[in-house]
Each structure stands twice: as C-alpha cells, then as structure tokens.
Symmetry: D2
Subunit: 229 residues, 4 copies
C-alpha cells in the first residue's frame, strides 16, 4: 500500500494567503507579496479556516500516486467528484491476481483468512484460464474479487482534501480508505502544515459530530484527543 | 439488468429552448413562451446541437433507477463526475452473492462459463462463512467478485448525458456499460426526442472519429449506419 | 424583481427519500416505493439533514426564471459553480438602460438618489449615442452601470440550494442577493417543504455561526429567531 | 491589463504523461519514470490530444494573477465553472473609479470616446459622493460602469484551459476576453509547450468550425492560418 505525494502547487500556503488577501485589499499582487511574512500567512490561513472561507484553498493542488489499494477502496475514492483520477485499466492491462488486500478483520481470524485466500487462488486460476480460453481481460476480470489492487494518480485541491479528510478519516469510514486518508493527510501536512491544521473528522476539524446515535462518541469522551488533528 | 427512467424535468425540451432563447432575445419569459410552437422548439434545439451550444441542455435533468448491473460497470459509471449517485452500500447491506453478471464472452465458452460460476459459488460460500465468523460485511465483501451486481439511482443533465453517450455507446466501450448507455439513450429519447437526436458515439453525434488506428472503422465504411443515432 | 420557480423534479421529496433508502436497504426500488408514507419520507429527510448526509438531495433539481436583478447580483450569483445558467446576453441584445436597480441605502437619501439617477440617465444617453455612432452593443455596454438589470434562467439541485441559502440568506450577504435567496427559498419551500426546513444561514440551518467578530450576533441574542428558518 | 502566470504544477508535461501511461501500463510509477524521455512525453501527449483523451491533462494546474480587466470580462470569465477564483471585492474594498477600460471600438471614434469618458467621470464623482453621504461601497458601486477594472487570481487545470481557449480565443468571442485568453495561452505555452500545441479556437485545435453562418470563415479561407495555433 503505497501513497506518494508526487507534485503540488509550489509554495501553496503563500498562494492561498495571497488569493485571500486579494479579495479584501486595495493593493495588487506586488503589494501583497511585500507583506507576506510567514507569520502573516499562517495567521490569515487560520482565520480562513475558522470562519469557513475556504475558496482560496482551491488554488493549491496536490497530486498523489497510489499503488496496492483495493478496488473496494478506489470505487469509494472516485466518488469524490471535485478531483482528477487516472487509474490503471483492467481492460487494457492484464491483472495480477496475486496482488490483493486482506482486511485486518479477516487476517485476525485464521479460518477466515484461509477461506479468503482459497477464494483468491481459485479466482486467480480462473482469470488466467479465461484469458487462455480467449476471454478478453476486460471480461475475465469479472471473476476477480474486489480485493484486487489497483494503481492510480489523483489530484485534489486543498479545499476538497479538507472535505475528503472530514469524511474519510472519521472512525465511521471503512478502515482501508481511512488508512489512505490518514496517510495522505500526513503527507500534505508536511508540505503545507498551515493549510491542514486542523484537519480530520468533523470532531477535530469543526469540533462537532452530527452522527447522532451512530457517533463513535470521541467528542463527548475526549475533547482533546490528538488523533488526526 | 433493469434501467428505469424514474423522473425528469417536466417538459424538458421547452425549458431548454426557452433558456436558449432568453440569451439572445430582448423579451422576457412570458414573451418567449408565447412563441414556443413545437416546431420552433425543435428547430432551435437542432441549431444548438449543430453549433455545440449545449449549456441550455443542462437545465433538463433525468433520474434513473439501475438494478442488476455489475460493480465493474458502476465503478466505470461513477467516474462521470457531473452527475449524482446514490448506490446501495456493501457496508450496510449484506450482499446477495447469487446475483452476478456473466459476460457474453464467458457465456459463449462452456468451459469458461463453468469456471466462472465455480468461482462464484466458492466466493458466495466464503462471503457467508466470513460473515458467520464475525467478519463485518464491509470486509467480507473483499472476497466477492467484481461481477457482483448493485443498485443505484443516478441523475444527469441532458448535456452530460450527451457526453456520456458519446463515450459509452461507442463500440470501443465495454459491452456492459455500452448496453447500459444504449438503454438509457432509448429511454430519454422517448421522453425528449429533440434533445437526444442525434446522440451516440462521436461518429454519429459529431460525424467524426478521433480514435485513429483504434477506430472500429464504422465511419469510413458506412456513413449512414443507423445504429445508435 | 421577478423570481419564478418554473420547473422542478416531480415529487422531489419522495425521490430524495427513495435514493437515501436505496443506499441502506436490501430491497429494490419497488420495495422502497411500497413503504413510502409521507411520514416516512419526512422522517428520513429530517434524519439526513441532521446528520449532514446530503448527497441524495442532489437528485432534486429546481429551475428559476429571474428578471430585473442587477448585474452586481448576477456576477455574485454565477460564482456558485454547481449550477446551470442561461443569461440574457449584452452582446447580442441591445440593453434597456432604463431598467436599473436603486439600492435602499441610496433610495433613502434624496441627494444620493438624485445623483444615482443622474448618472443613469447620462449612461443611458451615452449607450444610445455610442450604438448610433456604430459602436457594437457589446462594447457600448461598458458605459452602463452595474445596476443595470438582467434576465436569466438558473437550475440548482437541492443540495446546492441549501449551500446557496446558507451563504446568501445570511445577514452578512449583500441585500440584493439576500433578497433573491430569501425569495427562492420561499418558493422551493412551497414545492418541497421537507427538503428545505430548516434552511437559511448557518445560525439557523446548523445552529452555529463561524463569523467571529463579523457575526451579526443573532445566534447569541436569540436562539429561537424565526427569520428564515 | 496584467496577466501573470504565478504558479503551476511542477513539470506538468511529465506528470500528465505519467498519468496517461499509468492507465495502460502494467508497471508502476517507478517503471514509468524510468522510460520518460522528453521525446516519449511529447509523443504521448500529442497522441492524447489527437484522440481527445484529455482526462490526464487535469493533473496540471495553472494559477494566474489578473489586474486591470473590466468586470464585463470577469463576469464572462467566472462562468467557466471548472476553475477557482479569488476576486477583489467591491463590497470590502473602495473602488478606484479612475481605472476603467475603453474598448478599441470606442477609442477609435473621438465622439464616442469623449462620451464614454464623460460618463466615467460623472460615475466616479457620483461614487465618491455616495460614499461621502454614507452609502456603503457595496451599494455605491451600483453606479459604476461595467468597464471598471478588477483584480483576481484564478486557477484552471490544463484540460479546462484547452476548453477555455477553444471558446475564448475564437474570433467570435469579445475582444477583451479574447485578448485575455490569447495572453494566458502564450504564458502556459511557455511553461508547458506540449500540452498547449495546438490550442486555440476549434478551427485550430480540432480543425473544424461548427458556427455555420456565424463562422468567421477562417477555416474555409486558410487552413494553415498560424494565428493562435
């Protein structure tokens, strides 16, 4: 399970802060640049986050390379529409049925794990046999379990990333996409700490939880939980 | 494999034509409505299509119910981002592993079909066993083949539908999503014939093919092919 | 200043509720329809609103006709990107410089109003003179004040409408777009009460205000304010 | 009239090519990077352009600073929805009514130019008087002509830029936004030549014109016109 931050807008915090300043200032970009101490940039970004004025965050784009994540997860991932995806095709590329994900809940029960792997080997044999019988890979893949892994390059801007983190780092998200989101968050926070602090589920980024009886309860138990903040 | 057109903007052709007229007219909506003979509506829509002025088509929305389509296809489908989807969850709903798609290329080779079904039964047994062992359905589904079917409700506007049809009714699209697209096209054409005539792959809707050596060659062979036009 | 709700998805509440049910249910659309009492529909929608699960709201689209709103306001309006607009062109249509907006703050000061109108008549004369001199309308309009009015047809789905209302019915929004938003809200609430109750600024729809020192203070003063809820 | 390319995805051509390769290749990013000669990158991009496979172009984002463009033009500009904008506010910033655009068609007719400037000075006096009378700037601006200039920062990805150039560098576009688009095109072409060659109106980028009787006729007269290609 690989996640690599392969590209991003240079100096993203400064760009976001300049865009925000421009809206409320009577000087042009040159004037704005002259007053952009790191402290001013961070202060302005904090203010934007607090008040929910997130449109300037859209100017900062982040591109990731993903490898080894299941198609269960990529199907969830591509539901985020304000983003760009290039995913390895199962139509033009012959799959490697040995590369699949075993969820921890299966891994931890020996009988479950054994069963899961047995199905995988049967599916792998089936896939290869179908291809040998002349079935095109795009159809042979119908027999492959959803746990099969995929590769993709994805680009999201910082505003959409904050929204993605809100939904997908929540304890109610499935473990795999949550792990993906937490990893992406760690990477962008290194590249642009001010933009993504705080970031995480609503309990951390907004100090609230709207999940009612479905809530994990963290907010009630522990307002200062340091988890994904 | 069910597709049902369950809702759409009432009188969609008239709305699209009124929106287009508004842009170029110095009378208001009332004046426009007074001059909307069916012939005028159809004439204007034809003109818009021909010149590629498609933004008025966005005012007409169409909602579909889909049942019995594989998750191979829904993963492709939800890549179309200017649309809204509500898909049956494999996290909150226990799957029925008996409902899966057998591609024609597999169906037509007895040995392939047998192999495909054997994997399905193994996967179904595995899924149920995992659930019985206490694995949550969201994780047990990792063993289910991508051919497993799904249900969803989707809404697209007429402009995006035209784009969807362009890509997905092309002979280069995979058979399943192509069949879905052709069925959706038949349904919207009944509801709003002027909006979707012509519609189909670029060779039909635009009279051109940009696929070079990957082209099916239909455009060269047969300019008048009646297929999906 | 005209706003007319000219079209919407038929039975929008039932469609939204069906889409939401589909995600969490193991029955198909037919089964869902059989259990859609009005009470169940309203109950489910309330639950979705409360928990922030708004994607099913996207299936319901609403189209409006606007006339007599200033281009100050339409420039703000079209910044909402998840929407479709067809606006009367100032390139292809000769403007009527007599149709312009006088803000209440100007109307209430006689000297201001007089000055405002004087500029308008001068601009109107200029526009007509330029056109007579052979300047194309698209360029002659450069002299027209931003208060000049426009017509447009716009379509937004219910999710985006809720977001639009949140920003634009807030007391911090400018009076004209706020009046537009409040009027649109009144219209959609008649057509689909459950979808838009509550709706309005964050203090009403979410019970919070993030505007800090810029807040109008309503939330602190009066939690039960009946305004736009 | 200033346009500055202030930021873009680093090495945008290489990123676009890598994303495209990933879709059709059975090696991961490392393997792809090992085979990315400049020639291979350019060849692949040319192929993508020719066949209309533009989704990989979305990974490359470009941010511009604009100053001195009229609000006639910014109102047109922000209609492009797959983009991000931060525009100087006329609510929070007091306008400078001396900064306005004079269209060439007005500039070239002395009587027209005189009239245009007279209105501007009247509008400027009015604006300042209104503000002095206590009218808030957000309302005082209603008297300001649409020619008044604005500043903004905008971000678009390469796919949307190609679409923007197609519409706005066309001779049928208005002169000001056309000049803006041509200037932006010159800038991105310096930064990423392969992505934007060809780029321009449909007659250049696609070798066709769908404007019928409204066409400028360039395509018929001169297939090799070097204009904005």
């Amino acid at each position: 399970m690989i996640v690599e931050l392969i590209a991003h807008t240079p100096d993203p915090e400064r760009l976001v802060a300049a865009a925000a300043r421009l809206c409320y200032s009577d000087v042009g970009l040159e004037g704005i640049r002259a007053q952009q101490s790191e402290e001013q940039v961070k202060g302005l970004i904090t203010l934007l986050r607090r008040s929910g004025h997130l449109s300037p965050f859209e100017h900062a784009a982040f591109s990731f390379y993903l490898e080894g994540w299941s198609r269960v997860t990529t199907h969830q991932l591509v539901r985020h529409r304000i983003a760009s995806y290039s995913q390895q095709s199962q139509r033009y590329v012959t799959a490697n049925p040995e590369e699949f994900i075993v969820p921890p809940s299966i891994r931890s029960i020996p009988a479950a794990r054994e069963e899961h792997e047995r199905v995988f080997h049967a599916a792998g044999r089936c896939y290869r046999k179908l291809v040998n019988l002349g079935v095109p890979p795009e159809d042979a893949r119908y027999c492959l379990p959803q746990a099969i892994t995929s590769r993709l390059i994805l680009t999201m801007n910082a505003r959409e990333l904050l929204h993605f983190f809100e939904l997908r780092t929540c304890r109610r998200a499935q473990w795999e996409i949550r792990f993906l989101a937490l990893t992406m968050l760690r990477l962008v926070r290194k590249a642009a700490p001010a933009l993504f602090r705080p970031a995480g589920p609503e309990c951390i980024s907004e100090g609230r939880c709207r999940q009612g009886t479905l809530s994990c309860g963290r907010l009630r138990r522990d307002a200062g939980h340091p988890g994904a903040d």
